[in-house]
């Protein structure tokens, strides 16, 4: 019969249309379908969701998965009281600047008073207009000193210099990293400890530091994916 296809299709639309309202009713006495943590979880859960799955951003936000990556930040020690950040973890080795695909990292290596390079950046810039959020800098930094952030609300009225993040803007304490990605941060910490131990062992044996191994151990832990 001509038109049967349309009728069948309309039935699908009708079901989709009513489902959301029915779900609304279901949640009516449990805090509502929207702006409700519990309902959001169910709405996002595969197989349990009924009706529209949309999120009322910005009132509702999806939790970020740990591996979510946005503009990087620099890790520092937890700050001493009265200060915003502590000692930089970055040793200004330059690996991140070399691997960065659009070349948006600028690092000025620190110098000691005697003119020798100091393992600490004097200046560190990332042009976030150019950054493509690829995550290579965090992936290849051997010192866990640069990490991908979860803060994606960076809209700004100025499109020039406010988008060049300097060291002050980039630095965030390690406690922040632990807060946004607890499991991954713990795994990294375990890896660092392991690396430290194996390094210590080697030292005591034949006085030959082998940073390669430490690196290796750390990578393996990551790539296994079992730790987080």
């Amino acid at each position: 019969m001509y038109g049967l296809g349309i009728v069948k299709g309309m039935a699908v639309t009708l079901r989709h249309f009513t489902e959301t309202y029915l779900d609304d009713l279901r949640w009516a006495f449990r805090g509502g379908r929207y702006h409700n943590e519990e309902a959001l979880k169910v709405r996002q859960h595969l197989g349990k969701n009924r009706g529209a799955v949309t999120i009322n951003y910005p009132e509702e936000k999806l939790p970020m998965p740990e591996r979510f990556r946005f503009i990087p930040f620099l890790v520092t020690d937890d700050p001493p009281p009265g200060q915003n950040w502590g000692h930089d973890w970055c040793t200004s080795c330059g690996i991140c600047a070399k691997v960065c695909p659009p070349q948006c990292i600028w690092i000025k290596r620190g110098t000691k008073p005697n003119g020798r390079p100091k393992p600490e950046p004097e200046e560190f810039y990332i042009d976030i207009d150019i950054c493509m959020n690829c995550g290579f800098c965090a992936e290849f930094c051997p010192f866990d000193a640069i990490k991908m952030d979860h803060d994606y609300e960076l809209a700004d009225y100025d499109r020039t210099y406010s988008h060049i993040h300097d060291k002050a803007r980039l630095s965030k304490p390690i406690s922040y990293w632990r807060e946004i990605v607890p499991a991954k941060a713990a795994a990294e910490e375990a890896a660092r400890e392991l690396a430290e131990q194996s390094k210590g062992k080697r030292r005591s044996k034949d006085d030959e530091p082998e940073p390669q191994l430490a690196d290796d151990v750390q990578r393996q832990l990551f790539y296994k994916g079992v730790l987080y």
Partner: protein, 608 residues
Amino acid sequence: MSDEALSEEAMQNEVVEVRVHTDPVEEAVERLTERFPEVVEDPRPDFGGYMVPANQIRDVAAYVRDELGFDYLSSVTGLDLIDEGKMEVVYHTYSIDKGGSALVLKVHVDREEPTVPSLTPMWPGADFQEREIWDLYGINFEGHPDQRRILLWDGFEGHPMRKDWHEPFYEEEHKPFGSRWPGGEVFRAEERNPYGKNVQYPAGWQPESLEFNPDTEVYAGMTVTREATPGLKTEKVTVNMGPQHPSTHGVFRMVVTLDGETVLKLEPVMGYLHRNHEQIGERNTFIQNIPFTDRLDYLSSMGNNHGYVLAVEQLLGSKVPERAEWIRILMVELNRISNHAWALGFLLNDMGAFQTPALYMITERELIVDFFEATAGSRMMCNYMRFGGVAYDLPTEFRGQPTMEFLDELIYEQIPRFIEEMDVYLTNNEIVRARGIGVGTLSAEEAIAYSTAGPVLRASGVPYDVRRAEPYSYYDELDFDIAVFYNGDVYDRYLVRIEEMRQSVRILKQILPHLRSTMGAPIVEGKPQYAIRVPRGGDAYGRVENPKGELGFYITAKTRSSNPERYHVRAPSFINLTALGKMCRGHKVADIVTILGSIDIVLGEVDR
């Protein structure tokens, strides 16, 4: 029957089932070199392919196409061999019937006045590709019916892919740039090249003196030629559809000549999103290109990653661990489903079912891209594959559910349910049928001649799928059918995509047990490295069946170099557009929109 006898019988059965892979290329080459003694193997070590003298390329191509059966000209690539003072054009031809690898033909011409006979008269699919080479390299294709710039604007000075052409923000030949470390002084590229100085003009041309007659220049498209068809009061009108038009899926223009409502001629105009991706790729190191490939066809970045790493792995000689291969297939097939869901949703948009089907379609896609985000870190710009493996293992859990449980539910329930629902919803809908059947037809011969790929090719009755024709990864071990339909119209392209989603589900079901059994196994070969150098130079062509069609990467490199010498993308969206004019001719103006929707283009890949 004893166990031994059983297993013996099983063995015999197996022997019967084993297909004999004879390389069609070897046989063809034998005949080719016999017929044309001037055709010789590329003498450079580690380079493949056969050198053809420029004045013979047409004869050789005709012989290859008609006698040897390599009837599918997949890719035409230009190269600038500045050290040798030469320009090169590389043709990749395939045999649709026999499958297998490419018969590669290469032509060397003098760099000062590069001229190569055009193959467009034989293979209309070479049209846009040769125009692109003219545009970017300045190689002149003799006999090309319409040799104009295609990606850049007409007043552009120079040919930007030549090795001696430097962009206004040029810093160094290769990354990493020395100015970034250890004495990094930050600057903005716009400051060094303020507006007005960042463009080069042809000599003697003043932008201020640009005289501009709106009637002839901008509205050239709207000229009405008062030339009535006998007996009917119609006028020939030329209309611009785009560049800003909701139906063009991006910034894309079609110059359409209409007789009343009937399309007489349609010509795509593109390049609005051109960023010289290939030159960026040649400045980049090998690993830096991976995130850039995400930006080509941004709806299927996993597939783009896959094609690129396959090409570079040929140069590196990597061996991918088993688990990594299964994860790659998992990601690529999920990506195919999400891409087709998007394509079909927006095809329906183009037919006039505004947004409702599109939103139903992308509900499941949402789950897939969120899974990508949990695994790779980003929903669309996945940057997930690495040379010799993948970047991360699957997460242990996704949204509070163990990952494997989630995948089971997704692959066994959610996605099949969604596909069947959409099937009920749309396939027999009378409007979809009326708008789709018989619209934008392309016969099998035309589809091959126009070098179309992917669903466009398969909807025309050509069962050609790279996953079967030249299996990569573990596709030869997987059981699936090539979706093929025979009418070559919009409706069949719709059906092909629905069927391909079903086949993807079938593949996914087969790889779940492998993902379970390889849990915890290595996912990348060796230690991840950021400074990768190829042990040997040479050229490599890696191709995958992307949702849009065959995506190929042609890469050449010098020995021990850390960046590609040539990085070419065979972009399926771009090449499929070659046939758009042909498909639209004779149809109504409203059909253009559905025909374009049925090709499923992404402008990031068209314009590169």
